[in-house]
């Protein structure tokens, strides 16, 4: 009985997304990368060594994307870096959405002085340029566990989502059915969870997807600049190695090295953006581009 209800909610979430071409495309693309991250490392082996004689080999059957500075296969590295890249972004997005939901619901529902204070706080975090902030923080922190890093990054990503969740909750708070529930003295927990939350869930979902996208961009960016130390297989670190450490972008015959990484990152971000737009339009039909 319970499982059936949960399954139905999931289906209710997914169904509108399938109607639009954008989100279908986005879902397929993201699923492809998720597959790459989960199954890929099991199928594709990883051979890391240091063979300078095999440096910067162009793409071939043996090395589908060529080799890097150390003579290692780029394709293998990208496949094994996929779970790291996606996993970290998911963790950040989860944290950020959690914070955003708590603050957004609190500020939207409680209102008054507390609400205004939370609004102010949200706006501060929105105004402070998040990327430089993270940059400074991570260099100051030095080596950190990846979960801590995820939490710190989430700190700068919840603001936008909190605003949108707050707006929804605030709107719903004055809806007739909520007023009715209040008059019936149904109690705050009931009103919050049984009446309001079900309507907020789609927005939480939308924000999770866009947070995921922002988290990808931020984490790759931070590692690209070398601010965040992480596994050398993470695509951001790979990009840092390719551009700044080895300068391969200036070497014509080595261009396949940075280009492959860029292609993977760009494609993943593209599909995620598509998904993000599609999800948003699915749950908010007024935003549709075409009718």
């Amino acid at each position: 009985m319970r499982a059936g209800g949960a399954l139905r909610t999931v289906w209710e979430l997914i169904r509108p997304m399938l109607k639009d071409r954008k989100s279908v495309f986005g879902i397929l693309g993201v699923l492809f990368f998720v597959g790459m991250a989960t199954i890929g490392p099991l199928i594709v082996p990883l051979q890391i060594g240091m063979d300078f004689s095999r440096r910067y080999l162009p793409p071939s059957l043996e090395h589908p994307l060529g080799t890097d500075y150390f003579g290692n296969d780029i394709f293998q590295q990208l496949i094994h870096g996929a779970p790291l890249t996606l996993g970290l972004a998911v963790a950040i997005a989860l944290f950020a959405t959690l914070i955003a939901t708590v603050i957004g619901v609190a500020s939207g529902y409680v209102g008054g002085g507390v609400g205004r204070l939370l609004d102010f706080l949200t706006n501060i975090f929105l105004t402070i340029p998040s990327f430089p902030a993270m940059l400074v923080l991570f260099v100051a922190l030095g080596e950190t566990h990846w979960l801590v890093a995820a939490a710190v990054m989430a700190l700068w990503m919840w603001a936008g989502a909190a605003k949108s969740i707050k707006a929804t909750v605030y709107r719903l708070r004055f809806a007739p059915f909520v007023e009715a529930a209040e008059n019936l003295n149904l109690g705050t927990p009931h009103i919050l969870f049984k009446e309001i939350m079900p309507h907020v869930v789609p927005y939480i979902f939308i924000n999770f997807v866009s947070s995921f996208r922002a988290a990808l961009e931020a984490s790759v960016g931070l590692m690209f600049l070398g601010a965040l130390k992480y596994n050398p297989l993470h695509w951001g670190v790979m990009l840092n190695l390719a551009i700044f450490q080895t300068g391969s972008i200036y070497i014509p015959r080595a261009i396949h090295y940075p280009l492959s990484i860029i292609a993977f990152v760009a494609l993943l971000l593209f599909f995620t953006t598509l998904l993000s737009y599609g999800v948003e339009e699915a749950f908010r039909p007024e935003l549709r581009g075409y009718e």
Partner: protein, 335 residues
Amino acid sequence: MSDFKYYLRYAFGKLLMLIAYIFTALTLVFFVINLMPGDPAYSLAVYYMQTYNLKFEQALEMARAALGYDVSKPVYVRYLEYLARLTRGELGYSLYYRKPAAEVIALSLPWTLLVLILATILSYTVGTRLGVFAAFKRGKAADSVLYSAAIVMLSLPPFIIAVIVLYALGVNLKLIPLGGAYALGVKPGLNLPFLLSVLHYATGPVLAQALVQLSGWLLSARNVSVTILAEDFVKYGMARGLKRGTLTKKYIWKPARLPILTSLALSFGYMLGGSTLVESVFRYPGIGQQLAQALSLRDFGLAISIFTIMVVAVTLASFLIELLYPLLDPRVKGA
């Protein structure tokens, strides 16, 4: 005259908000750095020890000074000292350059501003025009193409666009230089060779930043215009026989500009954040690159000063936009 008084009241209110924001933001920065678990000065000291070949106690002292982090003093004392320093205009000291941070920033900030202003002008004018155009052609091929292109562009983060521009124009076509603000051997000053060289060297970063923002302007202009085109007053305008030109200018452009304008502040903030990446890729000596470089050298005095300036700049920008808004929209008289 009472309209003006309303406006003054509005402006004053916004000024107070501005001060509150900056104050809170800087306080937040201070406390986040100072209340983090562990002692960041420690790892910094290790770095100093290795890089500058110092004894640990010396290194630790320097690290503490750089971070403004003196565990011997209680937090609130440090906070008050921090505030005092800020009000005096003392931004900190750069260990690497052995100069006050303010001097370093004064040299690099103009370059960043140049890039951001040019990029904003470029992306705003082209983007919004394309967006309004797409709205008129809604449902037709031109709209789909522009919309899809915008989404593709939007998904690419600043560093990827920067790398692509660098590769395409710099490495491949050799059209733009690979680093610096102006060519060596050109004398700075108000002379033509210098100005041309500056523009030449700024092309890469400007183009990259503009491309990042372009699709944002396009989509927001398009969405706003589509909404406006469906408005009753537009339909009534068409019914009265108003010409296409009049409609576009006074019925679409004017109301569309306002909501789009408020995103200017957001765009500025985003570009400032992205400048760390874009300038690093192009090795362009603006404050973004200075920040990244300072951090890689653990020059915290400079880094935090730059960050402070960034926060102030962004808040100031949005404050200015908010001041401008009532002047453009007769409906908002600073209520």
